[in-house]
């Protein structure tokens, strides 16, 4: 129902959830018109004035960027703020400056045109490289160019906003996100951007809901438009109906209440009413997530994605740099355990300009990269071992396919231990070693693999997509992807049983572990550990503490008999409606 005074029709847009949270408020259209650098000829007597104008604009740009750098260092930490240093360094590049000055004099053209052409040349070369890293740098250079031109034209970028708003933009540079966050921002909605982009990373650090990749939200919205942003599901509602506003206000209230309600679970164990305990731990990416993990009442970290370090460093970090990061995490979580996963690069994950592949999901990724690049692998193994001296770390390898790979990876661990002993450095000689089971071949040989390691951890996302031969990112087939397919469920059961036969524990760290609907099935099948995203942890704990182990075993037995995922879905939603009317379970 549209209220009579708004002639607008409600518009719902779906994008990529980049930072969780719900906000309702007025839109602010952040249009940063790319400043036009029109070509203009100068008279010889105008040249010196032009150079002076350029010098002033360059100085102003340096001041602005230094301010942003300082602000970013305070808000998101030195490592992430580094990207602004590169821009400042370029502003002070004497060769670049000299080339611009000379061209203005020789070609007798205006500064805007020459600056744009000269920096554009380099951005163009960076854009042509086959690497995400270089593309980000190219965007940095374009951003820098626009800043200089804006200052040449003495246009002020409005970054002080009135009131609290949801910022809508075509795209946001890291600098934009930083500078805008000095205002009361309720959320960010952009046309472009993936979840790994720096702007998204910043909004998560700043705890501001964000949805990116919305296509054309910046054309649809105008400043002052009422809108809703749902950073959980990646939804934007423009000109929401009164009904939708009420629904989202309720959802927001409900989530807040639910969070408060769950807060008291924080210090309680994840134990069923009939005394069956589950190890409930958290998945984290960057060390910054640690405080949140502790607050959410986690029993440790079940998956630390070490490749997240590659976002902060330009390159593979050195052994020493890695050691410092790993040690920080190990100490923060102590006495609880942190499972460090060796670099999982390739596939859809960041691969620093190493390879271009036709079919990356069946390609050079995970442990395959590490085994082919002992230099990278050994650095990491030594760093993890050194950080393990308080005996609260475990190590696991991603994308294991064969038993032979497990043995080879373990040999490298032995070698790394030998090197550390020779250097008289301390480490945990009994560091538990496990593998991710995410390739069907490894699932089939799970029992043999279990004989070689201390634990198995199921990577349900990849396992599901490899079993079903479905690329989740491909819209033509993505509806076929579902964790509740009977083939997936029975494979998971097979892996758990295989581990238990060899007397080792089995965990799961994929998205399925954080799907409340899956909790009774996984626990009922005998899963020993669930590692989930921290925000969902209290909810999963509530489920574990509400149903008895016997009930969950019954649920698991029931779903394993079903022959289609529809039956599984229908059965589970009925169970949940009955047992947990409170839990905000998303539709299927």
């Amino acid at each position: 129902m549209t209220s009579p005074e708004t002639p607008y029709r409600e518009l719902i847009l779906k994008g990529i959830p980049a930072s969780p949270g719900i906000a309702i408020g007025g839109a602010y259209l952040f249009t940063k018109e790319i400043p036009r650098a029109e070509e203009r000829s100068l008279r010889p007597d105008e040249i010196s004035v032009e150079i002076a104008r350029l010098t002033k604009a360059m100085e102003k740009s340096t001041r602005e960027l230094n301010k942003i750098l300082t602000f970013a260092q305070q808000k998101v930490g030195d490592a992430k703020a580094k990207i602004f240093e590169a821009q400042i360094m370029v502003l002070e590049d004497p060769i670049l400056l000299d080339a611009i000055h000379k061209r203005i004099g020789k070609e007798q053209k205006n500064a805007e045109f020459i600056v744009s052409d000269e920096i554009g040349k380099y951005a163009h070369i960076m854009m042509a490289a086959h690497s995400e890293y270089m593309h980000e740098r190219a965007h940095d250079m374009e951003d820098l160019r626009n800043r200089i031109i804006r200052n040449l034209q003495e246009e002020k970028l409005i970054s002080r906003l009135e009131g609290t708003v949801i910022v809508v933009a075509h795209s946001l540079t890291p600098a934009d996100t930083m500078i805008l966050s000095r205002n009361q921002i309720l959320g960010y909605a952009t046309d472009l951007g993936g979840i790994t982009s720096h702007a998204a990373l910043f909004s998560r650090s700043l705890k501001i809901p964000a949805v990116v990749g919305l296509g054309d939200v910046s054309r649809a919205a105008e400043t002052g438009d009422q809108m809703i942003i749902d950073g959980y599901s990646g939804t934007i509602i423009l000109h929401p109906t009164a009904e939708h506003i009420r629904e989202y206000e309720e959802k927001r209230e409900h989530l807040l209440e639910f969070e408060a309600q769950l807060a008291h679970l924080k210090d309680l164990p994840a134990t069923t009413p009939d005394g069956h305990s589950i190890e409930l731990s958290a998945n984290i990416e960057l060390a910054e997530g640690l405080d949140y993990v502790v607050v959410q009442g986690s029993q440790g970290v079940g998956l630390f994605r070490t490749e997240s370090l590659l976002i902060d460093y330009d390159d593979f970090p050195t052994e020493e740099q890695q050691y410092v990061e790993y040690k920080k995490i190990a100490d923060r979580i102590y006495p609880n355990r942190v499972i460090m996963r060796s670099f999982d690069i390739g596939g859809d994950k960041i691969a620093p300009s190493m390879a271009e592949e036709e079919n990356p999901f069946l390609g050079w990724r995970g442990v395959r990269v590490c085994l082919d690049r002992p230099d990278i692998f050994m650095n990491q193994l030594r760093a993890i071992l050194r950080a393990s001296s308080r005996k609260n770390l475990a190590l696991m390898f991603p994308m294991i396919t064969t038993l032979d790979e497990v043995r080879r990876a373990k040999e490298y661990v032995l070698k790394a231990k030998g090197e550390l002993s020779a250097r008289h450095q301390r480490f945990d000689d009994n560091l538990p070693i496990g593998v991710m089971i995410e390739v069907p071949a490894a699932a089939l040989s799970a029992e043999q693999i279990a004989g070689e390691v201390n634990f198995l951890s199921i990577g349900s996302n990849d396992l599901t997509q490899y079993i079903l031969a479905v690329d989740r990112g491909n819209n033509l087939v993505s509806p076929l992807y579902h964790e509740f397919e009977p083939s997936v469920l029975s494979t998971i059961k097979h892996i758990i049983d295989a581990g238990h036969k060899r007397n080792i524990w089995v965990g799961i760290c994929g998205e399925m572990a954080g799907n409340p609907l899956a909790t009774p099935i996984l626990v009922g099948m005998g899963m020993d550990e669930l590692s989930v995203i921290p925000s969902i942890l209290p909810e999963i704990k509530k489920i574990i503490r509400s149903l008895t182990y016997a009930q969950m075993q019954e649920i698991a037995r029931t779903v394993l008999v079903y022959t289609s995922r529809r039956e599984v879905d229908a059965y589970l939603s009925e169970v949940f409606k009955r047992e947990f009317p409170d839990i905000p379970v998303e539709g299927f």
Binding site: D93, P94, L96, I119, P352, S353
Partner: protein
Amino acid sequence: MNRYGLHTRPASLLVKIASRYKSDFFIYKDGLEINGKSIIGVMTLAAEQGSRLMLKFNGPDETEACAAVVDLINRGFDE
């Protein structure tokens, strides 16, 4: 060349060292000529592993400049 390409930190190190010498220093890659004393130029070189670069030094202290740059590369940019 550094195994994973020339990223910001090694790029700035290279520029800093090259700038200590009077000689001109140019880097050639895939038909591009980059001034080795320019940070924005060297940043574009963040090259894939195994890229071939040609370095050219020209000036009064070209031998010393060349030795210093080659030494930096051989040290793996002090990584």
